[in-house]
């Protein structure tokens, strides 16, 4: 038995139970943001009256890997597979608390299809924290305790994106993502729960980057290179979409075989093969690489490409053989 006086005066052994007019209760979780373990949000990140919250989050979706955050929207249902708290029952019938609840959530994804599933299966091996947001656009996070205003993502043991389940005539094709939260997350999601009620729609304002497929449209030469740039499973041609905004040296990164940057003398819309027609001096019998500029650099172009609230764009690194 604990000492009566110690219990009553211990600041951590009570909580005031009055019900206030405004209280926080979370509605359905409809999205998540995977954030690096070191990602933090605080009053500096929010800016005065939260003025920079949206722009900072949008910028974070385009940053280099390691700093980038990955929003996933369109959760249509939750299967709560959480393990309830465990109690040990003793021989005389008394019960004693043994193990705290452990959260485990599986969400059905409504949008993105198999393309998104395939991209996200890479997270099965990665180590990220997670923020959730609910249908009131409230971002759920946890207090770090380092400073009063510092928040981070919840700790996750496992992010698992299952393979897709075929449509069966009654159910549409199934896409699911599971977050098996860590033991630490139980405290993070309860005693240390933090939240930010956003004044913008997270799903439409904070979007993940989309893949751009860079491909060779025709055999290159020592002076010419022909590159196709498409998204949406090849249905959207970026050169047609962005025109002169993308037909410029500042929108691409061209490298020689030794990794040094090759600055082209001209970048134009391809008259014969479509896509980009890049003119420059390319060394014969070498393999050069082509890629679009980084999502951050593309969004900073004028006119911008893939700037908020649109998705950022990131291409593959294409090897171009110079005959």
């Amino acid at each position: 038995m604990s000492n009566l006086l110690e219990t009553l005066t211990n600041a951590s052994s009570y909580g005031n139970t009055g019900i206030q007019t405004t209280s926080f209760e979370s509605t359905e979780i409809i999205g998540a943001i995977l954030v690096p373990k070191a990602w933090r949000i605080n009053n500096t990140y929010l800016g005065t009256l939260g003025a920079s919250l949206k722009s900072n989050m949008q910028a974070d979706t385009r940053k280099a890997i390691g700093l980038r955050i990955f929003p996933i929207s369109g959760f249509g249902a939750i299967t709560d597979g959480s393990q309830e708290a465990k109690f040990q029952t003793f021989g005389y019938g008394a019960r004693k608390f043994a193990l705290d609840k452990k959260y485990d959530f599986t969400f059905d994804l409504l949008e993105g299809g198999i393309s998104l599933i395939n991209a996200m299966r890479a997270f099965n091996k990665a180590d990220y924290d997670v923020l959730f947001w609910n249908s009131d656009n409230v971002l759920l996070c946890t207090k770090t305790g380092v400073t009063a205003d510092e928040r981070k993502g919840f700790s996750v043991n496992n992010i698992f994106v299952d393979g897709w389940k075929p449509a069966d005539g009654t159910n549409a094709t199934g896409h699911k993502i599971t977050f098996s939260m860590s033991m630490a997350a139980t405290k993070e999601m309860n005693e240390n729960l933090g939240y930010i009620a956003c004044d913008f729609d997270i799903a439409t304002q904070i979007k993940g980057c989309i893949n751009v497929l860079a491909s060779s449209l025709h055999t290159a030469s020592t002076t010419k290179m022909y590159i196709g740039l498409t998204t949406n499973e090849g249905s959207v041609d970026l050169v047609t979409l962005y025109g002169s905004s993308i037909t410029k040296a500042g929108a691409i990164i061209l490298k020689n075989a030794d990794g040094s940057v090759n600055t082209p003398s001209g970048v134009a819309a391809g008259a014969t093969y479509g896509g980009l027609e890049i003119t420059g001096t390319f060394v014969t019998s070498t393999n050069m690489t082509f890629q679009l500029e980084t999502p951050t650099a593309l969004a900073a172009l004028s006119p911008a490409i893939g700037a908020e609230p649109e998705n950022g764009l990131e291409s593959n690194i294409l090897t171009v053989a110079i005959p």
Partner: protein, 256 residues
């Protein structure tokens, strides 16, 4: 705890407000020696392909940095990223917002009377369409779930002016394709993204859609008698059962 009262008509006023084309003003430049001014907008463009956009003769509001109305203008001309307005002195504003689509709610007869009263005003008579109408009264089941305020069953019309002599194909190309269908799509999007209702995707908002080519009182072989005393084409959305969420009054953009 205070008892929560939510007016569905107010929620739809917010939804329709979000449907109105809007943009940030880049510059306002006088055209020669005329009283016309070109208002150039930053992206997204004034005219967006496949979406309901600002059109010539529409009314547009110029707003200050706080979103407060400075002055309204009738648009003379529209290009992809600018529009032209007329004023005796230099117009000012940081953002613009189209007045259309307009919004009314109530009994059909009451809405009709409101629209008729606008006809007496020289400018208001051009500030009626396209129109989103929320038909009242509606039943609301309350108290079924903690997070839900009610589950109203609603009927909404999206209507725009037409001509009695138009044939169906002309109505499709002039009204349904450029105006009514984009507004219908936008309405479903904003019902979802406003987060005022519990929905999971614009595509999964269950309702019955009814294209009304010349919307009037139904006769045996054709519609007759105008509903709002104007010739209208419309889309009727009925059986729209939405779960209205209880509203929180959490302080926005602040760390808790």
């Amino acid at each position: 705890m205070s008892f929560e009262v939510i007016h569905i008509s107010d929620l739809f006023a917010t939804v329709v407000q979000r449907m109105r084309p809007t943009g940030t003003i880049l510059s306002i430049v006088k055209i020669g020696t005329t009283n016309n001014y070109t208002v150039t907008s930053t992206l997204p463009n004034v005219v967006k392909s496949g979406e309901f956009s600002l059109r010539a003769n529409d009314y547009v509001d110029l707003l200050n940095v706080s979103g407060v109305l400075i002055k309204s203008y009738q648009v003379v001309l529209v290009t992809s990223n600018s529009f032209v307005i007329t004023d005796a002195s230099l117009p000012i504003g940081t953002t613009w917002r189209s007045q259309a689509p307009y919004y009314e709610h109530g009994h059909v007869l009451e809405v009709a009377n409101t629209l008729i009263s606008k006809n007496d005003d020289a400018s208001l008579k051009y500030q009626k369409y396209p129109l989103v109408v929320l038909i009242q009264d509606m039943k609301e089941d309350i108290g079924k779930k903690t997070h839900d305020y009610s589950n109203p069953n609603m009927t909404i019309f999206i209507a725009t002016l037409t001509d009695a002599t138009y044939k169906a194909e002309k109505r499709k190309t002039d009204n349904f394709t450029p105006i009514l269908y984009p507004l219908y799509k936008k309405l479903l999007n904003e019902i979802h993204y406003s987060r005022l209702f519990c929905t999971f995707s614009p595509k999964l908002i269950e309702h019955t859609k009814f294209d009304r080519y010349y919307w009037g009182k139904e006769g045996e072989f054709a519609n007759s008698k105008n509903i709002f005393n104007d010739w209208l084409d419309a889309i009727e959305i009925s059986g729209l059962i939405l779960k209205v969420k209880s509203q929180n009054n959490l302080i926005k953009n602040q760390i808790h």
